[in-house]
Every structure is written in structure tokens, then in C-alpha cells.
Subunit: 523 residues, 2 copies
Amino acid sequence: MASLNFGNERNHTSTFNNNPLDPEEFRRQGHMLIDFIADYYLNVEKYPVQSQVEPGYLRQRLPESAPCNPEPIETILKDVQEHIVPGITHWQSPNFFAYFPSSGSTAGFLGEILSAGFNVVGFNWIASPAATELETIVVDWLGEMLRLPKSFLFSGNGGGVLQGTTCEAILCTLVAARDQMLSKIGRDNLRRLVVYGSDQTHSALQKAARIAGIHPKNFRAVKTTKSTSFALSPDSLKSEICKDIEEGLVPLFLCATVGTTSTTAVDPLGALCHVAKDYGMWVHVDAAYAGSACICPEFRHFMDGVEGANSFSLNAHKWFLTTLDCCCLWVKDPSALIKSLSTNPEFLRNKATESRQVVDYKDWQITLSRKFRALKLWFVLRSYGVANLKNFLRSHVEMAKLFEGLVAMDKRFEIVVPRNFAMVCFRVLQKAMGMRQLKQAHQNGHVENGHKVVEEEEGSSNEVNQKLLESINMSGRVFMTHAVVGKVYAIRFAVGASLVEERHVIMAWKVVQEHATAILSTN
Amino acid sequence: MASLNFGNERNHTSTFNNNPLDPEEFRRQGHMLIDFIADYYLNVEKYPVQSQVEPGYLRQRLPESAPCNPEPIETILKDVQEHIVPGITHWQSPNFFAYFPSSGSTAGFLGEILSAGFNVVGFNWIASPAATELETIVVDWLGEMLRLPKSFLFSGNGGGVLQGTTCEAILCTLVAARDQMLSKIGRDNLRRLVVYGSDQTHSALQKAARIAGIHPKNFRAVKTTKSTSFALSPDSLKSEICKDIEEGLVPLFLCATVGTTSTTAVDPLGALCHVAKDYGMWVHVDAAYAGSACICPEFRHFMDGVEGANSFSLNAHKWFLTTLDCCCLWVKDPSALIKSLSTNPEFLRNKATESRQVVDYKDWQITLSRKFRALKLWFVLRSYGVANLKNFLRSHVEMAKLFEGLVAMDKRFEIVVPRNFAMVCFRVLQKAMGMRQLKQAHQNGHVENGHKVVEEEEGSSNEVNQKLLESINMSGRVFMTHAVVGKVYAIRFAVGASLVEERHVIMAWKVVQEHATAILSTN
């Protein structure tokens, strides 16, 4: 390849090749990066899992403005190691048990980098037919693995699409539902529409409702309780709906969850869809985390009732070895999405679109530009195969069971809610706090008032668990996060990092025990 | 690394390593992929630029369901070469002159793959401090390179964020503007709000307005004409606004464009912001394509007046060597974004957020999860340096000038609108069509009616140009797209592929001439 003439300012260093995509320079630097990342995985256990830097650390270390002249890749990578790695919370560490996993894999990575290499903008079919067609194929493949009803698949006149995140999937389906409803009851009724979830539903729902112009007063987070393991009760939903209808409002949209963020609770899809159907509502099923597990026959029942829903999504980038971002969304009625989200600017007009023989995914999502995301999911499905993918997920569930067993054997702790998948919610118990606190409670006169004691104990127990979690995370040896359900502060232990092995789970439990012992003795 | 126990279904092939992120297997396959992509760039000129496949080609070639057992990477890559590459429209080809460029680079690619390697989910500061902090730094760097007013930078109490695409940037700012206005005039006035652009504004604006619940009747695409080179006239805007106010509506949002999609027209920011200010409107400046060029002093004047706007965005993934996706958005008042887009779920609560010393970017965008996008922009800025980046952009402008000169020398063609950046709009002229058509027009009696002749001629000229473009693209040798402005069908020639050199531009012009000669002779 000949080089561009970059004028007088060129050639400040020999590293800068004038053509920014020169294949041989690309090859040289690409190999260097692969080794850098492979070495990172080799060493990832050595770093504190949660970054220990202070706010503003990086601005002090980097120059105030971009360099005038090129810098060699060697210098940049040295800076990555020295300045960026310490500021990273290591989601790929086998000692990462926080949030939900972001499970990387070699196959997912390869698909991602191939997509970056092609760097096509697949807004419509013609802009790169393979990007669209591979996407329609892999979403059908995955849909079949999940035993989604055929009505959600292209082969059954539904269809799937790869979006970035669940937030986008919810916003797109909500807007489709909104416009479908307004076309029936009249455009001026926007302020009457009501959106429903539970108090366990992901905050993405409320945010989507806000963005879509749903009146803030018309968002319902229906209360759940421990008695249903924090699943949404169809009766509670129905009674909220009835109240709203009495007030002249119009029930629009329900987001049900398979595997809530706090506790992986599972809403009863069948009964909820039944209620929603009576009112002509759109039901979206958010299975961002737990959907992956449903490819295993023994977990598939958590999705039972999905046949009554309008749309279903899961994040392959959470617990399915696919690099961030990759949210798989299936809908029964793609035309509802398309009616709301299609645009037809002149510069994109083409014969393929006019033939109506192709899918133009720009009309299934918020953005026009879109990456070739299907590659990474295709690579994952093929590189690992369905049988191994099931076993991969099962191995994490087994490790979570192991952890659960360890917690159960230590009487200072309790499991806060029953485990459904590979996440354990636990806490250290108040009664483990010893006599000092109890004595103090007596002195404060709290024993005379039973209810007050319980409340105070819960509050103080929450405080201890918060302290425990902070102390664990500050050690850098493992990273976990928390939830508060039914006023109880629980520590969440989510197994799912691709590098995790039993020994990490066992070590994590030892870390918890050590810190609990230290905290309980000083309290 | 020890391996997970995958049970009985394991070890179907020796290629599948039980740990999906085993560092040495990652290294082996990663190097293989780098060579695959480097070879792709070496050979990219050999492929037809626009894919020549038929709708549905891929489903016939791939299995109906995902494989049960693992397949080796060698098999997968063979399939990529045989089945995916033919279905790709090669945006990285030096003969790609369509749409706007998607300019990849080694540095952008490296940053992207490093981000995929770390695979962190940087929703808030604590989830990976480096991801947030590097982002605040690079957007300030780039903002300074653009000489954005300090009020748009973190150093001046504004701030920038990396979003996926302009569609998201427009939607976020529109929602912020909407909520800010509704908090003044009352939440129930949503249906009175009006959004303005020109008939040249990107379709992203109308789509964002729809998603945000703006009443479809309240979207204004103000007409532009050739007399202003299709730039939005402040007078036209003002008169639309006045009409709306008379009807009791409330002007909310103006999207002005620096470098429209059809013709790279530039709206006069200063005068437009002046009008908008009188009505308390939010002005967003969409410089998706042309913003990059404004780092060069000689193009900076196209942004003059931006100081009156509320927000400004450009796509580094278009013409700034940064892999898709990377839209840089700056706002003067981040708190407006945050008020509309923040969520505060319990599971994300942390001390850093509570200290108010950190940026939590989840509150600046639609989605919660977010990639470590800053790495790729940082790699680009450092690997190439500001001086070379300017020259890179200039070299494309020079090549577009060269093409423009070639068009001007062939009397059969005309330049449709003046060139501003690296895109040329041209067409073959009706009068070049020879005597046969003119005779036919005479026979149809059209010469008696001056106006009708012009209209018919324009229509038939458009048809010829459409035919010409189709014929050029079907050759596979180059790929261009079209625009229709002022009823004129123009062929767009956008220089910007990273591998492009003068010889490609000269060859592209020869291809145009050849096809024009063939079409004009058979017409």
C-alpha cells in the first residue's frame, strides 16, 4: 500500500505508519495487543478485584491535552499497564462475584474483534447483507435453544434482533406498545397510559417509561414481599390495574422479570400474562440474567408462560460468554416495532428494501447505525456448542450451591432468599453479634418494646452487613455487591466469571468468614 | 488454569478448551484472528465493494440450528471467508465512497479490542473508575482540539460523554430539554411541545421526537432551498416558530446540522441560536460527519456560533479513525441530562457516588451498561497525534477536490452543490443525453410548455442518474450512494476510507465515466 502524503508534519516517529490501516503495521500491533490481553488474563488474579483508586486519580497522571505528535504503541501499552489497569475493576477476575457477571470468552472476543475489523455499518440489509442475515439466523438458533414459542421466531412470523442492552429492548417495546395503543384510543391519550412492574423490576423500566413520555405519575412499582420470594403477585397487579382503570387511566405495559437483579426472583409469567391479556396490555419479559440458564431443560420451567407475552429479552453479554454488548430481543409482532421505529430517508432507499424481501434492522431499534453483533454470538454458539454451553451454566449453578452449603454450615449466617440460579443472597445474623450489643439494646430500653427491638435489630444488622461487605471489598481479594429486599440488607454472591473455579468460591467464603470474625469481634 | 468440570458432554473435540477464557488458548486463537483480519485488509480491494448476494443467501448455506458440539476455530474462519465475506459490503475498501465513511484504523481497532478484553461494565465510576475517568479526559482533549467553548468542557462546568450514535445523543438531549421545559410550564403540556429541524436534518431527529413522545404533528422539517445551499434559514425557522406560538404551541428543541447527510450543508449556527434563544429553546448541533474536520483551523469557522448552543455532537466512528460506535456528545449543562436520565437503584449505591466527587455516566445516556469506549479514542489521539489527524482529514478533502476537478472537466456532468468537506455531489446532465431524447421531448410537445419541459427533464435526468449509479455499483468496482435535493437526484462521492489513495479516486472517476458513456449511448 502506498502512503498518503501527510505533508510537513509527518514522520515524527518511526512507529507511525502513514496509512492508519496499513495491513502489516496492523498485524504487528494486533499481535502485540493479543499478547497484552492474554497476559492480562494470566495475571488477573493478582490485581485487587475492585479498583482501589481515589476519585480523580487519572487526571493527575495524564497530560492536559492530546499529543501533537504520534506516540508508539509500546508507550501507550506501558501507560495502560501503569495507569489504566489500577483503575479497572476486574470483571474478568475469577474472584469477581459482584452485580451480574460479564462473562467474556475467547469465542465472544474473536467475534467482537472480527466485527471491529470489518467495521461495517449494517443499518439496513443492503449496507452489509451478511450482518442482517446472520443476525436473523442466530436469534432463531438461540430462540430454539430456549424453546421459545415459534411465534417469536422468524420461522413463525415473529423475529429477533440483537440490541445493545435491556434498556434499549424495553424502550423499543414500550414505544411500540405505546403507539399501538394510541392508534386505537387516540394520540391525545398519552398521559393516560400506565406502565407496570414490581418493586424488584430493573430501573431500566422506569427510565424507559420516562424517556417514552409516560407521565411520571403513571409508573407502578407493585410491591412484592418475602412470602412470594419477591416475585410479582398477579393479584396485586390486578388490583393496581383496577384502581387505575377506575381513575380513567389506561393500562399499557407490563415488564415481568425472570431473575430479578436483587435476588433472581422469577415472576409467574403465565398468571401475569393472563391478567395483562384481559386489559390488552403488552407484556415484556426481561430475562437479562437468567434467560441464559433456560437453555437447560431443568431451568426452562422458569420461562413457562412466556407464550402469553409479546416480547422476551436476555443479555448474552451477562452469562452467555458473549462480549458486552449483546441483548437478544424477540417479538411476536415485528411490525409493531417497525411502525414506531422506522424511518425512510432518501439516502437509504434501495431496491432490496423496496422488494420487501429483507429485514432492515434499523427499524427494530433506537439507533440507525449498528454493528455486526451477530458474529460474536455465532462464534460462541459454534465454538462451544449447545451441550457445553449448558454445562458451563450448570457448573456455575453448582458452584453457587457449594457456596450456599458453606454459608448454611456457619450458624452466624443465613441465606436471605432461596437460590434459583447461580446467585446466593446471604447475610451475617444479628444474633451472632454477641452479648455486648444485646446488653446495649437492654440499656436503651428496647427489650420492652418487641416491635421496636426487631426494627432496631434489623437496622443494626443491616449496618453490620454493610460494614462486612465494605471490609471484604476493600481487601481486594474478592468483590461482591449488595441488595436490600424487605428492608433486609443482603450480600449478593453471583458466580459467573468465565475463569471461576471451585477453589475461588471456597476462598471467597474463607474471606467472608475472616472478615465476619473480625467485624463481629470488634462490634 | 485448571478446568471446569463440564460433565459427560465434554471433550467432543480437542479444540475446545474447557475454560472458555484460558489465556493460552485465547492467545493462540487471538493471533489467528489478527492474521485473518490483516489478510482481509491486504485483499479487500479484490472483493466487489457492494455485496452482490441475493436476499436470503445465507440461510441456505448455514445449518438450521446451533451445533450440539464445539467446532474448531479453523472451521469457523473458513465459513467466515466462504459465506460471510461475500455478504459484506466492504466499508473498509479504498473503493468505498458511499454514505459517510466508517474509517477504521489500527489504533481504533486496538482500543476496541482492549476494551473487549477487559470487558468491564462501566455504568458508574465505582464499576471501573478508569473507564469513567479516561472518558472525561479524552472528551476534554477532543473538545479543546475543536476549540469548543470552555462551557462545554468539564474544566468549564460542562462536560462530554461517549455515546454509541448520534441517534442516542439527540434522544438524550431532547429528553433533557423536554423535561426541563415541562418542569417550567407543567408536566401536562407535553403535547404542546414542538421540535424543529430542516428538511435536510438527519432522520434521527424525527425518530427521537417520536420516541420521546412529542406529538407527531409537532415535528417541523423546515424547508430549505438551493439558494442557501440547503442550509436552514433563520428567517424560515423564526416564521415557523411564530406560527406555532400563535397556535398555542411551545417551541422546544432545534437540531442544527454542520454537514448534512445529503450534501454536507452547514446551518448558520450563530443566527439560528440567536432565534432559538428568544424562545428559550434547546439547540443541539449535530456535526456527526463534519465535526471531525473542525479540528483543522481552516474548517473551524463552520462551527462558529456553537457558543450559543446547548449541546454538540460528532461521530468519531465516521471520519475520525475510531471504530464504530463512538459518538462524542458535549453539553453545557450536564445536570439537565442527569435530571432526566438518572436512576438510583439500591444495587448500585456506593460511597463514591454519594461523595458527589465522581461522574456516573449511566445518568448521561439511555442505557445502564456501557463499554469502555474511551480507550479507542485515546488510542487514536495518541497513536496519530493531533498534527497527523489534521493532515489525514485534509488529505481526504484534497482527494475530494481532485474528484471535483475531474467532474468539472467533463462537460457531461455537473456539481450539484458546492463542496464543503470531502464529499462531492454530482450528476450527469440531461443535455448530455444527446439528440434522441430531445427529439422525443419535441415529439411529446413538451417544448411548447417551458415549465413542463424543465420538470420532465429533471425527472428523466433523475432516472438516468439513478440508472448510472446502479450500474456503477453493480460493477462492484466502487460503491457510491445518492441524495435527492431540490428534486434533483445527485450521486454522492464521499472520500474517507482509511485505505483510500489518489489512485482510487482517479479510478473511481474512470468507472463513472465508462458507465456514463455506456448508459448515455443506449438511452
